[in-house]
Each structure stands twice: as C-alpha cells, then as structure tokens.
Amino acid sequence: MGATVLASQTAPVTADDRERFQALAEEHLDSLFRAALRLTRNRTRAEDLLQETFLRAWRSFHTFKPGTNARAWLYKILMNAYIDGYRKATREPEIVDHEDVDEFYLYTKVQESDDFRRAGDPEEVLLARLMDADVKGALDSLPDAFREVVILADIEGFSYKEIADLLRIPIGTVMSRLHRGRRQLQVKLWEYAKRAHYVNADKPPAGSGGR
C-alpha cells in the first residue's frame, strides 16, 4: 500500500526530502500517537490511524511550508484521517447533556461528601485516588463531539482557535463543547470514584438511623 501511495507523489522524492520529513515526524510522532490512542480508544486502530496520518503527511509533504506550524499541520492531517475513517459514520443520537450540572460539579460533590470532608484536604484525596484508567475511561465515555475537543484542548494543549481550524467548527462551538465535555467528565469521574468504593458518598454515616 505504501508503495502505490508514494508512487503517486507528484514531485520526485529526494534524499533530502526524506531526511527533513523524518526529522519532522520524529519530533511529533509520540504526541500524534497519544492523540490517536485517545481518539480511537483502541491500540490497533490507533496504530492504523498513525500510519494513515504518516503516509498522508509524507504524500503532501511538498505542500508543507518550512517555518510554519508543523504541529498544527500534522494534527490537521491526523484529524482529517480520523474524521474520514474512524469517527462513527452515523450522526450520534441526541446527546444527553447535563445542563443542570454546574462547572464545579466535582468540587461541589467532594465538599458535600462526609467521607471526603473527614480527610484533611478532601479535594487532594479525591484527585490522588483517581487512577489513569479512571480518567481515560471517563474521557472515553464522552460523546465524540465533546471528546474530540477535550482531547485537543486538555491533552494536546491546542487553543480554541486552533481547535476550530482542526475540526472546521466555529470557536463558539469549540467553547461550548469543551465546557460541556468537561462537565460530563466530572460527572463520570465522580461515578468512578464511587463505583470503586473510594467513597461511600450516598450512604448515610454510620449510626444516623439509615434510610
């Protein structure tokens, strides 16, 4: 597959091109792979997506202007490849949104929990107990539209404007999806915290007479 793709390249490839491309890829490959893992939620698919991105980038390398933002250029290719082949084809059904949930959901829950309040620094205790798998699981559970924006902002560190360009959506949409995504993430993280028996948040304290 690689060979046919490369053969279709318009300009002849020089050893110098190859070296410059290798250096560029070398620098960004790890973070592209991290993004691919979070986007696809699956290691095999992430490897495929990375390869697809790598080949597309190489194929259009002659359009890259040295000195411009290489990271943004590569992520644009990554997101296009992802949207073309990996994002669910069907429009997601009505997104369940927690409009009633405030931006400080997790903070409020911790403050309301007797279990956590007994700890000296309840917020610290909660955050320290959340494992990698909890955070990744919470992120994985978000609707695609929210998940993509949260990944690009909170893990990959792109600005609202950059995300708007990457996903071809207005900045206002980036902001609202990001805020809603972060809200849902907190709801999920609280669920994980409870499910893992870190907290008996909904249980009345012992001796209070029960339900």
Partner: protein, 76 residues
C-alpha cells in the same frame, strides 16, 4: 470595564485557565481569585483537575517496532 462579581468570575474560570482572554481581564480575574474565599478554592480545584487529566492521559513513546515500520515506508 466594570468590576466582575463572583458569579461572573466563576463563569470565566475555564477561559482563564485556558489563557483565552485579554490581559486586562486576565489580571482582574487573577487578582479576584487570589483574594476571594469563594472563587479561590474553586479555581484551584479546576486547575488541578485539568492537570490531572493531562497527567493521567500521558502515554509512552511510539513502540519501536511501529516506528521502524513507518520509517521503512519512506524507503519504498
């Protein structure tokens, strides 16, 4: 610019954390959360939450075998 109250500050916390506002507003919010017992801890928590998400989603480098396979595609 009129001074922001707590509710307005809290509404802008994400944008503040994302560095997505002009300097004047940024400094105003910075001063507010440094002094406010309501907004300060809420801001601190959100800041730590975002740092946690970034930290917990870190991944190791691309597996050597995969990388080798990719770079080999350039030789074809």
């Amino acid at each position: 610019m009129t001074e922001l109250d707590c509710e307005q500050v809290l509404q802008l916390v994400w944008q503040f954390l994302d560095g997505e506002m002009d300097d004047t507003r940024y400094l105003e919010i910075q001063a507010h959360i440094a002094a406010c017992a309501e907004c300060g801890p809420r801001y601190q928590f959100q800041r730590r939450l975002l740092a946690l998400v970034e930290l917990k989603c870190r991944e190791g480098p691309v597996p050597t075998e995969l990388k080798r396979r990719l770079f080999r595609l350039l030789e074809e």
